[in-house]
């Protein structure tokens, strides 16, 4: 779930027009380097010291943004902000985000079929399809687009059959 707070920060980040490569590098650094995050989150460390660290590591525009997060004591929601930012970027580029959970990985041809079906149905230019394996589905796949769930798995069919048989 993305909070309104994270969404607001993501909008600010979007308006800064940062370079995508620089942002990816910053993301990687902050997600992987635990010590750096600990320093930035620590309220005992002075603002000046934090800022000099940030200036040294990050690119100019991104440094500005991270400084803002630190000042507002919001650096801990950085991951959530990034998620919200991805959503905004997707919206800008008319890209649909969807999630495919499968028991056995479908062939590439099938995946591209699903993608083109989604493009047509939701009137989008591209689809970013997140893939996930879940053996408990037994067979088939489940496709999530926003709130809508397209269930074509054995597990789903079995639970539907159970419902019909016990008449609930």
């Amino acid at each position: 779930m993305i909070s309104q707070r994270a969404m607001n920060y993501a909008k600010i980040l979007d308006s800064l027009n940062v370079d995508k490569g620089n942002l990816d590098a910053a993301k990687k650094l902050l997600f992987n380097c635990k010590e750096l995050m600990e320093v930035l989150e620590n309220p005992a460390i002075k603002k000046k010291e934090k800022e000099s660290v940030i200036d040294e590591i990050f690119d100019h525009e991104i440094a500005k943004f991270i400084k803002l997060l630190c000042e507002n004591k919001m650096i801990q929601i950085f991951a959530e902000v990034m998620e919200a930012y991805d959503e905004i970027v997707c919206e800008h580029n008319n890209v649909l985000k969807a999630k495919l959970i499968y028991a056995e990985k479908p062939e590439d041809e099938k995946i591209s079929q699903i993608k083109s079906m989604l493009c047509e149905k939701y009137n989008k230019s591209a689809v970013f399809l997140e893939l996930e394996k879940d053996a408990s589905l037994i067979g088939g796949y489940v496709l999530y687009v926003g709130d809508t769930e397209y269930n074509k798995s054995i597990k789903g069919a079995l639970s539907e059959m159970q419902k019909t048989l016990i008449g609930r």
Binding site: D147, N151, G156
Partner: protein, 478 residues
């Protein structure tokens, strides 16, 4: 079903499974982000409607009560066992409703319309939404037909009409429920369907009421909807609406329905619980702002339909419990203002003049008696008129004393009142009133059955009939 053998069942199951067609199911799903106290906050379900029924992955259902920007607030209609953060929730695209059919008569149901009396499932495909719009102005007809409660004090002084809403209000242990139950008992053979809705009552109390109704043969035309004190607040909240939905089903068939809400103070408390948990702003006494609308939209559904629309009616007897006789508290004043008339079960208030203003001679006599009662201690110094007044009053009070679960039929009431109004009781010693009364009725039944039949048939009291009754009563006294 019971005479099916094992092999039959297995073959039916087999064919069902063989013919089962695997389809792609398309559902709108959301995710639980927090759950507690019977309230679930669900992320997603962007298209969910207010009041829609949603289903959780454990099979428990909920009603959408709050719509926020990214989340919705649902009240659970069952146990939250097995639900956790991340549990899936599915839209049903239906509004909450109760199953209805003629088979619900004689049954005890929960707030969702499912039987809880262990007499098996009620098979029906018809559903009525629990929240329904009240009948409009053009579809209604004035209230003209009375509904006898069988309680002399009420039927003689504050008669209730079919389609009316009469509030029964009073402190605990003043006999509010007994009035309602007596009224239900008195509907035997009157072609009236009775619905008793218990909200937040002890299960033992409900069981006692059901056994009273069964004992007197009243379950043949009654339905009990029970949401006891241990039920979740949302279930207590929807119970009266479910009861009204069942009542509307019968009303739409042109039947007269009597519905008792016992009691609406507990209903308001359940709604307050729910609203506070849904984080709605508390107002006076921590009730939410729409607590008035809560009861007005419920009671507005009672009506008498025009003949064009079937001519059925719903008569409502809401019950309100007051604390220390305080009728000016928040909920009592609200419900008093919605209802057409009130029965106060608080002796001092009852006689102090707080009652509908329409006058009948019995009421005036009683009021005069109450005014003069303080002078009884000077009995020897009083003039004759006052003495007569006091004597008459004493006899009237004696006449209105009535044992529990013994409603009086129409002809009994009429004969007793005509006799009393003509002061024919006044020379009978007060302690002998009870036996005199029953002897008088026996005499009428034995010798003047034609009068009884005339009253029951025509339901009109002519001067001729009055004279006949007086004549017969005088004859009996000789």
């Amino acid at each position: 079903m019971s005479n099916m053998n094992q092999n039959d069942i297995i073959s039916v199951l087999k064919s069902e499974i063989q013919d089962y067609e695997i389809k792609t199911t398309i559902k709108e799903t959301g995710t639980v982000i927090s759950i507690g106290d019977g309230i679930a906050t669900v992320y997603g379900l962007d298209n969910a409607m207010y009041g829609e029924l949603v289903e959780f992955e454990t099979g428990v259902r909920g009603i959408v009560q709050n719509l926020n920007r990214k989340t919705i607030g649902c009240v659970l209609l069952g146990s939250d066992y097995g639900l956790k953060e991340g549990s899936k929730v599915v839209r049903t695209q239906k509004r909450a409703g109760v199953p209805v059919s003629d088979k619900v008569i004689g049954r005890v149901l929960n707030a969702l319309g499912n039987p809880i009396d262990g007499k098996g499932a009620i098979e029906t495909n018809e559903f009525y939404p629990i929240e329904n719009e009240a009948a409009g102005v053009c579809t209604r007809k004035p209230v003209t037909v009375p509904l006898q409660t069988g309680i002399l004090a009420i039927d003689s002084m504050f008669p209730i009409g079919r389609g009316q809403r009469e509030l029964i209000i009073g402190d605990r242990q003043t006999g509010k429920t007994s009035i309602a139950i007596d009224t239900i008992l008195n509907q035997k053979g009157q072609d009236v369907i009775c619905i008793y809705v218990a909200i937040g009552q002890k299960a033992s109390t409900v069981a006692k009421i059901v056994s009273t109704l069964t004992k007197h043969g009243a379950m043949e035309y009654s339905v009990v909807v029970s949401s006891s004190a241990s039920d979740l607040a949302p279930l207590q909240y929807i119970a009266p609406y479910s009861g009204t939905a069942i009542a509307e089903y019968f009303m739409n068939q042109g039947k007269d329905v009597l519905i008792v809400y016992d009691d609406l103070s507990k209903h308001a408390v359940a709604y307050r619980t729910m609203s506070l948990l849904l984080e709605r702003s508390p107002g006076r006494e921590a009730y939410p702002g729409d607590v008035f609308y809560l009861h007005s939209r419920l009671l507005e559904r009672s009506c008498r339909l025009d003949d064009k629309y079937g001519g059925g009616s719903i008569t409502a007897l809401p019950i309100i419990e007051t604390l220390a006789g305080d009728v000016s508290a928040y909920i009592p004043t609200n419900v008093i203002s919605i209802t057409d008339g009130q029965i106060f079960l608080e002796s001092e208030l009852f006689f102090a003049g707080v009652r509908p203003k329409a006058a009948g001679s019995l009421r005036i006599d009683l009021a005069q008696y109450r005014e003069m009662e303080v002078f009884t201690q000077f009995a020897s110094d009083l003039d004759k008129t006052t003495k007569d007044l006091l004597d008459h009053g004493k006899h009237l009070i004696e006449l209105l004393k009535q044992p529990l679960s013994k409603p009086l039929s129409l002809h009994e009431q009429v004969i007793l009142l005509v006799t009393a109004n003509n002061r024919l009781f006044n020379d009978v010693p007060v302690k002998d009133m009870k036996s005199f009364r029953s002897d008088l009725m026996d005499y009428f039944r034995a010798k003047y059955n034609n009068i009884i039949e005339e009253i029951d048939k025509s339901k009109v009291l002519t001067d001729e009939l009055i004279n006949e009754i007086i004549k017969a009563a005088k004859e009996f006294k000789k």
